[in-house]
């Protein structure tokens, strides 16, 4: 895993010192809130409904046990004993005091962490596949490229005042688990006929109030051109992106208003000017950074394990966990394990300080000290020996993170919503909790199969509702919470934006409406193997509409 070099360490320390001084000047009255706000946002510090909120970067969702223990320590010492994993693979603390934040940043710096690029109109923390470096379907590990992008984009002076924020995601596998097509730049690693590594490049995807699927601008961008091409895109965006209206300032609007062909020509023209310059990636540099992500030594083992099979036969909860929470590993005898941060009726993405400590211990004991945070708000142990699964599962049960529900109806993405967020128009978490309780039995979830519900508490769509198989958007209508339902969204390699099914539902009605949709699906699917999304794509919205609102 990547280690800071002396350059990283020095700029993170500098930034921490700077922020300490900025907080001092703010409290002394030398900086007004208007002057201070952009500075605190550059360090991940927001002011929410009840308190400040600190968003800590977890670059491409990768961390080790030492870092996880530090997060637990911060939750315990400076917050209220918990943290919240976000849809950008980061973690948020909901109750820090302004006066404590410089100290928190110092503590984070001790374990090579910080809150840079978690806010503001800059290139944000790059996200990636949470099974990176482990998945059987992977072309190559995307994290070295994510790291190269991080080094290039961190505090990039030219791109520190973009028209709006800018998000990059990268996947190394054809099965996209990083939602690359709904990012400002989406990258998918591929190999060409000569076995060379390159990228499919998408531009202009995004959610928010104007959801759009990214447009493909390159079928194969050679590895060496990654930074020059990214810089070309950013330059075109920085020059032409709208600054007159913050709701029209993302690159997706530029793509839409300019037209793909013209914009592509602008990008290519800019690229030609710089492609042979300093940004050309030398092969030895890529290989050097790749070495930081060298996989742990994994002995090839048997693809099945007797102890696992014996336990599977005798323990239904374990069987359910195996069925849903494992992802095939490229090394036989290993698997990637999803630790569900979605207990039935619980708060999606919340982890207590004690749970974080347990997770750190388990990573050391069973996972070669590697951890990942998924954009679906779960925690992953990427390299677990099959034989260790029974022992690991027992410890997960004790820590209440053993729900075998990854990818199922209770594995809900939800933004913090109006329980915390100053922008929210309705609550998200309580809706997620009620849906989770409604469908929470093992049999019911398993019968329904893969179904991704995503809930946002306002049109900014942090809960990714547009790409939920069922999406729920919380709004306010006449002073009451009110929920709009979309169907047919998806964030994978066949990405699509969900369609609004009809008029919205009150908070009391919305869970019943979801159940109606689920029952309708169960009634019309061709068999257990046809997922909700497949069925929806086959039959369209009519049967669902009719079930919800009656025949037209």
């Amino acid at each position: 895993m990547y280690r800071y070099d002396e350059f990283d360490a020095s700029f993170v320390n500098q930034r921490t010192e700077q922020f300490k001084d900025q907080v001092r000047r703010r409290l002394a009255g030398e900086l007004s809130e208007d002057e201070f706000k952009p500075l605190r946002l550059m360090n991940g510090l927001y002011l929410q409904l009840h308190a400040y909120m600190l968003r800590v970067a977890i670059p491409y969702g990768t961390l080790n046990s030492r870092q996880m223990r530090k997060l637990a320590h911060i939750a315990r010492t400076y917050d209220k004993g918990y943290g919240h994993f976000t849809t950008r693979q980061n973690i948020q603390f909901n109750w820090p005091k302004l006066e404590d934040t410089p100290k928190i940043l110092e503590e984070l710096a001790e374990v090579e962490m910080h809150a840079i690029q978690t806010s503001g109109n800059c290139i944000r923390n790059v996200t990636s596949d949470h099974f990176a470096g482990a998945a059987a379907d992977e072309v190559a590990d995307p994290r070295p490229y994510a790291e190269i992008l991080r080094q290039w984009s961190s505090l990039h002076p030219e791109f520190s005042f973009l028209p709006r924020k800018f998000k990059i995601a990268i996947t190394g596998a054809p099965n996209d688990r990083a939602a690359v097509q709904v990012h400002d730049i989406g990258l998918q690693l591929v190999r060409n006929d000569n076995d060379e590594i390159g990228f499919v490049v998408y531009v202009g995807g995004g959610l928010g109030r104007t959801p759009m699927i990214g447009r493909k601008v390159r079928d194969f961008l050679p590895e060496e051109d990654l930074l020059a091409y990214s810089e070309a895109i950013l330059r075109v965006y920085n020059r032409y992106g709208r600054r007159d209206n913050k709701y029209k300032a993302r690159i997706k609007i530029l793509v839409h208003e300019t037209g793909l062909e013209e914009l592509k020509a602008d990008i290519e023209a800019e690229f030609e000017k710089i492609r042979y310059g300093v940004l050309r990636l030398p092969d030895e540099e890529v290989r050097r950074i790749e070495a930081y992500f060298a996989p742990p030594p994994l002995e090839v083992g048997s693809a099945t394990s007797d102890v696992v099979e014996a336990r599977r036969a005798s323990d239904a909860a374990f069987a359910q966990f195996l069925k849903h929470n494992l992802n095939p590993h490229r090394v036989p005898g290993y698997t990637s394990v999803t630790l569900s941060m979605k207990p039935i009726g619980g708060i999606p993405g919340d982890a207590s300080d004690d749970q974080m400590d347990v997770i750190a211990d388990l990573a050391e004991q069973y996972g070669h000290d590697e951890l990942r945070i998924s954009h679906e708000q779960n925690v992953i142990l990427p390299h677990v020996k099959l034989e260790d699964l029974p022992a690991l599962f027992d410890k997960l049960v004790a820590a209440e993170i053993a729900e075998g529900n990854a990818g199922l109806i209770t594995d809900i993405i939800a933004c913090p919503g109006m329980d915390y967020c100053a922008l929210a128009t309705a609550r998200s978490i309580p809706v997620a909790q009620r849906i989770s309780e409604r469908f929470g039995t093992a049999e019911r979830q398993s019968e329904i199969g893969e179904l991704k519900i995503k809930i946002s508490g306002c049109i900014n769509a942090c809960g990714h509702h547009h790409v939920g198989h069922i999406g729920i958007l919380g709004l306010e209508k006449k002073g009451e919470e009110f929920y709009q339902v979309t169907l047919g969204g998806s964030a994978n390699e066949n990405a699509s934006i969900g369609e609004i099914v009809g008029r919205g539902f009150s908070s009391e009605q919305v869970v019943d409406a979801i159940e109606t949709l689920v029952d309708t699906y169960l009634g019309l699917r061709t068999g257990n193997e046809e997922t909700f999304l497949e069925a929806y794509r086959r039959v369209g919205e009519e049967p669902f509409k009719e079930a919800l609102y009656g025949a037209a």
Partner: protein, 99 residues
């Protein structure tokens, strides 16, 4: 009927403008302002407090009085006055004083 609210600069706590230009921790202790002019004078007090690094994000919000007790009108403000509905153990609702 309005009250003036903000967050304390130092710790982010939700506060309301009370009597004697004090910032209070309970909406029930807030000073109620009726009429445009009264609200404007309340906001002025808020602006001064902002300049003095006491609070940030000053604004006015609607309230009603039921049985002599101040209640926020909007759900957002009800949640600010109480704490996250998902965490009854945190926020003002967790403190042993009537909300």
């Amino acid at each position: 009927m309005k009250v003036i609210t903000a967050n304390r600069l130092l710790n982010g706590d939700v506060v309301w403008l009370g009597e004697n230009q004090n910032w209070v921790e309970r909406v029930t202790l807030a000073k109620v302002f009726e009429g445009k002019d009264a609200v404007a004078s309340g906001l002025e007090v808020g602006a001064t407090a902002e300049k003095n690094q006491e609070v940030v994000g000053v604004y006015e919000m609607d309230v009603t009085i039921e049985d002599g007790v101040i209640h926020p009108v909007r759900l957002r403000e009800k949640i600010r006055a109480a704490g996250p509905t998902t965490h009854p153990e945190f926020g003002k609702q967790a403190q042993a004083v009537s909300v």
